[in-house]
């Protein structure tokens, strides 16, 4: 008898469970998870960038003591200088992905997007006067960097010397590998400290704004529609970076961490957002949800596969990078199109 009851219960469960997905689908967005994810990354960035200032401060004090005579500085304080620079470089490598992993949210949400320009995305005034974010970095010397571009880019150019005006003239074997190679530069201590301080300050502000942010469905859909179809831009910067063009790279940025890695970070954050709003779409149109969800999964897998090949030592040619970029953009555009259709059906406004 007991076994018959169990059997009946199991059979009933079997009958009910498959339909529960349809009838019991939770049609409410879960945006708390998006905010929790964002705050986690924003906290990491704020803490990490504060830690970065310890190394940049140390380097600045050393340079100041040497009256900013970098040749003399290296001569007198080689070990301390090397330690400070290496520590700063390592910390930059640690904190850069923190930002990339939340970039999809920060850049896509209109109320937070200005942080994206300042921290990670803006070109410098020299590169693109029209589109450079109007932002000034105050240097300890009292000078100012007007429209310097994204702070992560300025820091990268300063630490690894891809922008000659941000480093001293001295060519020095900083990493001690016996040859003067990529990154063997002594940064301009003023610029390094000023920019690192600015990053720490902006990261703290971003954390505050993220804490105050009250996510809504419009923000989430806007972030997806704005950020998903940006693949060609990211692949474009990868194509001209050192990872593809090598020493002849025309791009000054993305020389230390492959842009492909950034893209996977961005797609991760976009998946977090999509997971937040997917119940709404699934309830309205399961097929559309499946298409968007699978599209995002496939897109991320596509980029991860290229990144894996790159990490395994494959160096892609510019045309190959171009082909991959086009494919990624085509996929992204289709996903975005379906998201806009879903937003229209749900009557959710995509913000300008």
């Amino acid at each position: 008898m007991k076994s018959k009851v169990i059997l009946l219960a199991v059979m009933l469960s079997v009958l009910i469970l498959p339909f529960s997905r349809v009838f019991g689908a939770d049609d409410k967005a879960d945006l708390d998870a998006v905010k929790t994810y964002l705050l986690g990354k924003a906290n990491d960035l704020a803490d990490g960038s504060k830690l970065l200032t310890e190394s940049t401060d140390a380097y600045y004090e050393l340079a100041k003591a040497a009256k900013f005579d970098y040749a003399q500085l290296w001569k007198d304080k080689q070990k301390e200088v090397a330690v400070a620079i290496e520590a700063a470089k390592k910390q930059w490598i640690v904190i850069s992905p923190f930002y990339e992993q939340m970039e999809g949210i920060v850049a896509g949400v209109p109320s937070l997007s200005n942080y994206d320009a300042i921290i990670d995305a803006s070109p410098s005034g020299e590169e693109d006067p029209d589109n450079a974010v109007d932002f000034t970095v105050d240097l300890p010397s009292g000078d100012k960097l007007e429209k310097p571009g994204a702070l992560f880019n300025v820091l990268e150019s300063t630490l690894w010397g891809t922008e000659p005006k941000y480093v001293s003239d001295a060519k020095i074997d900083v990493d001690g590998d016996g040859k003067i190679g990529f990154g063997d530069e002594l940064p301009d201590a003023n610029i390094l400290k000023g920019t690192a301080d600015a990053l720490a300050s902006q990261a703290a502000e971003l954390l505050k704004s993220a804490t105050a942010w009250e996510p809504n469905e419009s923000d989430a859909f806007t972030a997806l529609v704005v950020m998903v179809p940006t693949m060609s831009e990211y692949f474009g910067s990868w194509k001209i970076s050192r990872f593809v063009e090598g020493d002849d790279a025309t791009g000054k940025n993305f020389s230390v961490i492959s842009r492909l890695s950034d893209i996977t970070g961005i797609l991760s954050s976009l998946q977090v957002i999509y997971d937040g709003v997917s119940p709404l779409i699934e309830a309205k149109s399961p097929e559309q949800h499946e298409q968007i969800n699978q599209g995002l999964v496939d897109l991320k897998a596509f980029v991860e596969d290229i990144l894996k090949q790159e990490n395994d030592g494959k160096r892609f040619k510019p045309e190959e990078a171009d082909i991959f970029g086009t494919e990624a953009q085509d996929r992204a555009q289709t996903i975005t199109g379906q998201i806009t259709q879903a937003a229209a059906l749900l009557d959710i406004t995509i913000q300008e």
């Binding site: 997905r21 529609v225 045309e319």
Partner: protein, 808 residues
């Protein structure tokens, strides 16, 4: 028993697994999912072949082919057999290319297969709607592409919404069909444009594989639009364009760069003006506005390029031709709507546009061309919906700049046709408004702006500028036609905007500098104040005896009341002007004309001393009537004398207030008040010297000097008023060829190099001088014919001044 139990549980669990898996299997088996998987497999084939892994490429090819044969082919073969045949050919072409290691052919085949999928899904969605099966239509519509989502535009969702409404029973089948049709045609035309631009981009970078891929896609997108293209251009044109696309595919494979460029050019020409999806109501209204503006511009440009039946300026003829082409394109876009209004009249417009083309080609008389244009405008007034006609007329600088800002957006989206349309629209607005004035007020600036819109500016900028090859900024027409990089187009637009600002300064030169406004108002106040002081002093001086002195008080009270009344008049005039401010520059023109009238009266008054002395004599006469033989002042006398004092001063105040309103409109109240204060200080000094210190001043000389200064003010004001009237279109603008006056001459002297401006200033000067000569002539005649009268009059005049002087 236990065995049976276990078997039952296992069966149930298996069923459970199957049931759980069912939704997932169903979801992954949608047409879109299958098509996407095939597309991704084909990309794997391409990328593996590119990276030299032919084994992986072959495996992926097989997977793609198998999936197609098992999933989509049965449906396509049944419902869209032509497309199925094309896909089969595509797979064979791809397979052969893989075996041959031919990446370029593979890329083209891949593009063809994918766009065939899109074509099939479009047709199947339509078939499903016709079969009243909205759900299947919605399923097929998931397999589609969208226009690019940018910061400024999002893919539209008309088709999706229409199908959902149809499924819900809220929408009609024909509405859903129209929405699908328009949405998909619009999307695939945008994709066609993007693919062609991407192919060109790859061509420039030497990326052959990418170029082939984009060419394959472009040919496929065109195939989706083919039936619409044939409807609009005819079967022969479709056949010809299809052949060019095929040729483009061949040269993309062969790597013949020259032939590629040639065929690409032919493709672009064949697609020029083609619009697959009908325009929205808003877009149609905009095109109607363009048509109305552009038709006028054809004859305006043409006239500038023709002298005595000979072309003297090629560029103007080219511009006329461009505007005619743009007019024709705009007309074609809205012709269906216009035909609904009146098919015969719409047809007549088409005929007249063709006639204008012939007229330009045969170097016809400009008046004949204009007559054709006028005829079109007359017809358009009848058949263009009234609300569309309202879009046409404004020529605001902000509107021009906002249209210019659309150009980089269009270029960014590789929509060079749209960029060209925006350029022409911005230029059209400029040409019908600001440029007309600029040609009159600053011909050099007009030429510079025109150059920047067309083939190149006239002023050197960056040394590495390209386009005209002579170190000047390349023009937008050239840049758009040559599909120049975005940065270069943005650079020219930035220079154009800067030039606009300078042009605006020249337009504003009709407004005098604050200094000249202050000095003009000070001169007027001083002059009118001086007259008031003289009249008052004269009246008071003539009341010298002890008895008469009691009559001074009411006159002074009257004069003070006149001051108050002048203030009230100012307030009233200003309040009136505020209510009329919406008239804008037209109000400025009207008030300036009134001010000129006042000035002419003042100057005429000045030269015709007889009036002034008569005016003074009148006051004295009234005074005598009031005070003669009276020992004690009565209430009536008191009132009479107050009125005498009031009228003698208020007239000057009233004139000043009227004149000042023009300056207030021009420069603002605070600036004018500074001049008023300065003038009043001068009057006060004269007043103190005359009344309090009782010193003698050279009044006659002062009147002469201020009179000459007012003559100067008059000429400046005439120049500025003519300028304002030209700006509002009340006077024509005919530049004096070869004369370029500097900006400061406009701001300080009201001098602008137009025949109207200079002509009216000369006329005003002639009037003043003529008035003087005539007055002198009259005086002389009077002196000669009536020496006694003359003597008496001179005596009377002498009384006026000497009475003041003796008082002092």
């Amino acid at each position: 028993m236990m065995k049976r139990m276990r078997w039952t549980i296992c069966t149930v669990l298996a069923c459970m697994l199957v049931l759980f898996a069912l939704p997932v299997m169903a979801q992954s088996d949608t047409p879109q999912a299958n098509a996407e998987q095939i597309r991704q497999q084909l990309f794997t084939v391409q990328s593996k072949l590119m990276l030299g892994d032919t084994t992986a490429a072959t495996t992926a090819m097989q997977s793609a082919s198998d999936l197609y044969n098992s999933s989509l082919k049965p449906i396509f073969s049944k419902s869209v057999p032509d497309v199925a045949t094309s896909i089969d050919k595509g797979f064979k072409q791809a397979s052969d290319a893989l075996q041959a290691g031919d990446g370029l052919t593979l890329a083209i085949a891949r593009g063809g297969i994918w766009t065939d999928f899109l074509n099939a899904s479009s047709q199947l969605a339509v078939q499903a709607i016709k079969a009243n099966d909205g759900k299947t239509a919605a399923e097929w519509l998931l397999l589609r592409e969208f226009t690019a989502s940018t910061k400024f535009s999002r893919p539209n969702s008309d088709a999706t919404k229409a199908i959902q409404a149809f499924i819900a029973g809220d929408g009609k089948a024909e509405d859903a069909l129209a929405a699908i049709h328009n949405d998909l045609l619009d999307s695939y035309q945008a994709q066609l444009t993007t693919s062609l631009a991407n192919a060109d981009d790859a061509h420039r970078n030497g990326f052959d594989l990418r170029q082939a891929e984009e060419v394959g896609l472009a040919a496929g997108y065109f195939n989706i639009l083919a039936s619409t293209y044939a409807e609009q251009r005819g079967d022969a044109a479709l056949k010809q364009t299809t052949q060019v696309f095929n040729a483009l595919e061949r040269v993309a494979i062969s790597g013949d760069k020259y032939s590629y460029e040639l065929n690409m050019e032919t493709v672009q020409a064949a697609l020029k003006g083609f619009r697959a999806a009908p325009l929205s109501e808003t877009d149609q209204a905009r095109r109607a506005g363009q048509l109305i503006r552009f038709v006028d511009l054809v004859s305006i440009e043409y006239k500038r390029g023709i002298r005595d039946g000979v072309v003297v300026k090629d560029i103007e003829i080219q511009e006329a031709t461009t505007f005619l082409e743009a007019s024709t394109a705009a007309f074609n876009d809205i012709s269906q709507t216009l035909e609904k209004q009146d098919v015969d009249k719409a047809s007549r417009v088409a005929t007249l546009l063709a006639q204008m083309k012939t007229q330009i080609q045969t170097t016809a008389d400009p008046n004949a061309l204009q007559a054709s244009g006028d005829s079109i405008q007359t017809i358009l007034k009848d058949i263009v919906p009234a609300k569309w006609q309202q879009v046409a007329s404004t020529s605001d600088m902000d509107v021009i700049v906002s249209i210019l800002d659309q150009i980089p957006l269009a270029v960014k989206g590789n929509q060079y046709d749209l960029a060209e349309s925006a350029r022409l629209e911005a230029y059209g607005l400029l040409e019908l408004g600001m440029e007309q004035r600029l040609r009159g007020f600053a011909p050099d600036m007009a030429a510079e702006i025109e150059g920047l819109f067309w083939q190149g500016g006239t002023m050197p900028h960056d040394a590495d500028d390209v386009g005209t090859g002579d170190g000047v900024t390349p023009g937008l027409a050239y840049l758009i036609a040559t599909r120049a990089p975005l940065a270069q187009i943005k650079s020219t637009i930035a220079i154009l905007k800067t030039t606009f600002v300078q042009a605006q300064q020249i337009m504003d030169a009709g407004k005098s500098t604050p200094t000249i406004v202050i000095s003009n108002s000070a001169i007027i106040v001083f002059r009118e104040g001086l007259e008031a002081v003289l009249i008052l002093a004269s009246l008071l001086a003539s009341l010298r005896s002890l008895e008469e002195r009691q009559f001074r008080r009411p006159i002074i009270i009257g004069a003070l009341l006149a001051f108050v009344a002048t203030g009230l008049t100012w307030w009233a005039a200003n309040a009136l002007l505020q209510t009329m401010l919406p008239l804008g520059e037209r109000l400025e023109a009207i008030v300036s004309l009134i001010a000129i009238g006042v000035l002419l009266i003042i100057t005429n008054w000045f030269f015709h001393k007889v009036y002034w002395t008569g005016w003074m004599a009148g006051f004295h006469s009234k005074k005598r009537n009031l005070v003669n033989g009276v020992a004690v002042i009565t209430a009536g006398q008191m009132l009479g004398l107050i009125i005498l004092g009031f009228t003698s001063i208020y007239r000057e105040g009233f004139e000043s207030v009227l004149f000042m309103q023009s300056l207030v409109l021009e420069a603002g109240l605070s600036i004018v008040l500074q001049g008023v204060a300065l003038g009043l200080v001068g009057v006060a000094i004269v007043g103190v010297i005359t009344f309090t210190l009782q010193r003698k001043l050279p009044y006659k000389k002062m009147l002469v000097v201020t009179g000459v200064m007012i003559g100067f003010v008059l000429l400046t004001m005439v120049g500025n008023t003519v300028h304002v009237m030209q700006v509002v279109g009340w006077l024509p603008i005919n530049p004096i060829i070869g004369v370029n006056l500097p900006l400061w001459m406009g701001q300080w002297l009201g001098l602008f190099a137009t025949w109207q401006g200079i002509g009216f200033q000369i006329a005003a000067a002639a009037f003043v001088i003529g008035s003087y000569v005539w007055a002198e002539h009259m005086n002389k005649g009077r002196r000669e014919s009536k020496p006694a009268v003359k003597e008496a009059k001179e005596q009377k005049e002498q009384v006026v001044v000497s009475s003041v002087e003796s008082h002092a």
